[in-house]
């Protein structure tokens, strides 16, 4: 079974703090994604990565950056957290195959106060 883990299930941070969300997968998948999920807005793609040290902006990259130094780990960074970044953050992975199924981690619910 594919296992995607995220560093925290719940996180509370203060406005202006630098926040790191970690995602680790154990299936050697090439592609990794970061989404945020908000009521009424669904899942929106923040950043994705096709390979180590590669990154591409998704639909809502503003206020975020990412890092992929190793294949199994994809980090989302909030340089200076703001209250409008309070959300559920989901990491997903996908192998280079003809199917499009993505495998999701359990999510991190981030609250910025």
């Amino acid at each position: 079974d594919v296992k995607v883990t995220q560093s925290s299930r719940y996180l509370v941070k203060r406005t202006g703090e630098k926040v790191f969300l970690e995602c680790v997968q154990d299936m050697d998948h090439e592609n990794m994604f970061w989404y945020r999920q908000d009521p009424g807005l669904g899942l929106r793609l923040i950043y994705f990565s096709y390979d180590v040290k590669m990154k591409e902006k998704g639909d809502i990259p503003e206020g975020y950056s990412v890092s992929r130094e190793k294949k199994e780990r994809f980090s989302l960074i909030l340089e200076s957290a703001s209250t409008n970044q309070t959300s559920m953050y989901l990491c997903a992975t996908h192998p280079w195959t003809q199917t499009y199924e993505q495998y999701f981690g359990p999510g991190t619910r981030l609250t910025v106060t």
């Binding site: 009424g40 669904g42 899942l43 998704g58 499009y100 993505q102 999701f104 359990p106």
Partner: protein, 111 residues
Amino acid sequence: EDKVVQSPLSLVVHEGDTVTLNCSYEVTNFRSLLWYKQEKKAPTFLFMLTSSGIEKKSGRLSSILDKKELFSILNITATQTGDSAIYLCAVPGAGSYQLTFGKGTKLSVIP
């Protein structure tokens, strides 16, 4: 820009009812459509549909795609409280593995 629209956004039914969830899409180069179920944690994969008119079935859940009319439906028969979840529909973008998701349908099944 790819677009996925799900309806209804929320639905409350009684146990034993049959429900139909809708997903319409606009995508430049259609390759497939995926359905996910999300309870209180990670979305879990249900179905991937690529061909029109072929029903995918798993227990009480089934789904079908209409590529001419650009929509898919997810049916759940004899609903149970464990079916309460958000159901997500998604399509991959042209030439990539990115998924565009609909806003989801929140299904609540009450005893």
